[in-house]
């Protein structure tokens, strides 16, 4: 039976709203872009693993290990089907989006990019999709080029053919964790593929909110994190096209990813295990599969609808407050997060004031320093929403925001 995203039902599934060890209750959590809260079913699935299944996978012939292996590989199929990957072998377990991208840079980049090649990124990237490429560029004498964005926080995609000249890899964020912009990735992929250039998508802020179809997107690589989509920390996914997987060298080496080992040399396993050295985060894998199940009981189209509804609701109310500057596009072109500043109040002060009211927002550069340099600001405040947030959360946030602004004005008018 499909679960409806009604305000009260969903929050009840998340123990932290009742149990959080905080002074101010209710907990109004508006920082899901940083990490999401977990439903009891995900927490239970992991406990269940340790209580009833735990054994090393692919190992033993005893029943416990066989069951464990089955549970673990079923999870891989669940994840594959979640993003419509053709084959579950194309799902590689990593620690998160950051490691997924590092894996591509290391195992694919080192082998397939050569001195003088260009990697094309954007100026709105999270550091996870920027720093690994900087390091690779230094090591292999590559060039970095960037799509810039306009006043509305949208990528400037003029002269695409020219922009792609000499490019051997395009790596772009699908939805910005600061601007909230939903980038036209299909357009970028089409243009890149027309010139035989592979594309990596940072889908960390997409997997929680929208259904992903890697076949329809035709992306070469796709990365996302479990902990941003109701799953546990310590688990992320790299999806790659088969052709790309066959082009990849090794990443981390050691146990499990080998075929045969002698004292002086080894041969390696096939993908995905080739890229999964050592014992993986088995309980976390199972937790992620349960997170996907949970989301699917709601239905990803409902999840997406809710995202649109609540972001629009918050955006429209914030737009009416003259002291607020919002960064990024209009409501219907964005998802998840709204970064903003209040005139005269430093973002960190704002977040502290909100914290006193039990409202959790983030302040800083949100792992996107170049983006903030481009915006010309040292920091921004950011609210972000997920399925457990409702209109009441937004109403309270707006009420407190107006209260903070009026108090601030009063205090500052007292200056001598």
């Amino acid at each position: 039976m499909k679960k409806r995203i009604t305000t009260r039902d969903i929050k009840r599934d998340f123990p932290i709203f009742k149990k959080a060890k905080v002074k101010m209750k209710p907990l109004v959590y508006l920082d899901s872009t940083a990490t999401s809260q977990k439903p009891i079913s995900v927490i239970s699935a992991m406990t269940d693993w340790y209580e009833r299944y735990n054994a090393n996978v692919h190992r033993g012939v005893y029943e416990l290990s066989e069951n464990a292996t089955q549970r673990y590989e079923t999870a891989r199929r669940v994840i594959a089907s979640f993003i419509k990957a053709p084959n579950s072998r194309q799902i590689i377990y990593t620690k998160g989006t950051t490691e997924s991208i590092n894996l591509v840079a290391s195992a694919w980049g080192k082998k397939n990019l050569h001195a003088g090649d260009t990697i094309l990124l954007t100026t709105m990237e999270h550091h996870a999709n920027l720093v690994p490429w900087q390091q690779l560029a230094k090591e292999k004498k590559l060039k970095l080029r960037f799509f810039d964005f306009n006043q509305q926080g949208e990528l400037i995609l003029d002269n695409l053919t020219k922009k792609l000249k000499g490019v051997k890899l395009v790596s772009v964020v699908y939805v910005s964790n600061v601007l909230g912009t939903i980038n036209p990735v299909k357009k970028i992929i089409n243009a890149a593929h027309a010139q035989g250039i592979p594309v990596l998508l940072d889908a960390a802020q997409v997997a929680p909110h929208f259904s992903i179809d890697v076949k329809a997107l035709d992306c070469d690589f796709l990365a996302f994190s479990g902990h941003k989509m109701l799953g546990p920390t310590g688990i992320g996914i790299l999806y790659a096209k088969q052709e790309r997987l066959l082009e990849m060298g090794v990443y981390q080496t050691g146990g499990d990813m080998i075929e045969s080992v002698t004292l002086h040399s080894s041969t390696f396993a096939q993908y995905p295990v080739k890229f999964e050295a050592g014992t993986q985060a088995m309980a976390e894998v199972v937790g992620l599969a349960e997170a996907i199940n949970y989301l699917q009981t709601i239905g990803m189209s409902q999840v997406a609808k809710h995202d649109q509804m609540i972001v629009t609701y918050a955006y429209q109310q914030m737009k009416q407050i003259s002291e607020i500057e919002i960064y990024g596009p209009s409501a219907h072109k964005r998802s998840g997060a709204i970064a903003f500043n209040v005139k005269g109040i430093h973002a960190h002060d704002l977040a502290t004031f909100f914290a006193d009211f039990g409202i959790c927002i983030r302040a800083g550069h949100h792992c996107a320093q170049p983006l903030h340099d481009k915006l010309g600001i040292p920091a921004s405040a950011r609210v972000s929403f997920y399925i457990y947030n409702n209109k009441q959360d937004v109403d309270y946030f707006i009420k407190v925001l107006k209260n903070i602004i009026s108090k601030w004005k009063k205090i500052n008018s007292r200056s001598t």
Binding site: A347, H348, F357, I377, A379, N403
Partner: protein, 126 residues
Amino acid sequence: MFYEHMDLYQQKIMDHYVNPRNQGAISDADKVFAGKHISCGDDITFQVKIGKNKKITQVAWQGSGCTISQAAASILSEMMIDKKITDVQKMDSQGFLKKLEIELSPSRQKCALLPLYTVKEQEMEN
């Protein structure tokens, strides 16, 4: 609603933020200290004049950033007068934080300590 009665920050911090002491510049400063908090975008510069027996006779500061860092700069500037630089540099972090008369979370403590660490000419540990 309950929140209408809550203060934003305690008195001393807000007072020093709204009415900063010793803000400005000294054209013939004997020593300048400059510090920055890259992640927050806070920055502070102190300029001092030193008199006989190495004591600070004049201090002026400039900066930008969050309330806590700027107010702390103002509070520190008052404490610096008539002290040797080395004495200011020996000041203990906890002792300084107490002078701010505000309860701060660990992450905000870093903002508050920026002025002190600027004079100490030291990086703050993470």
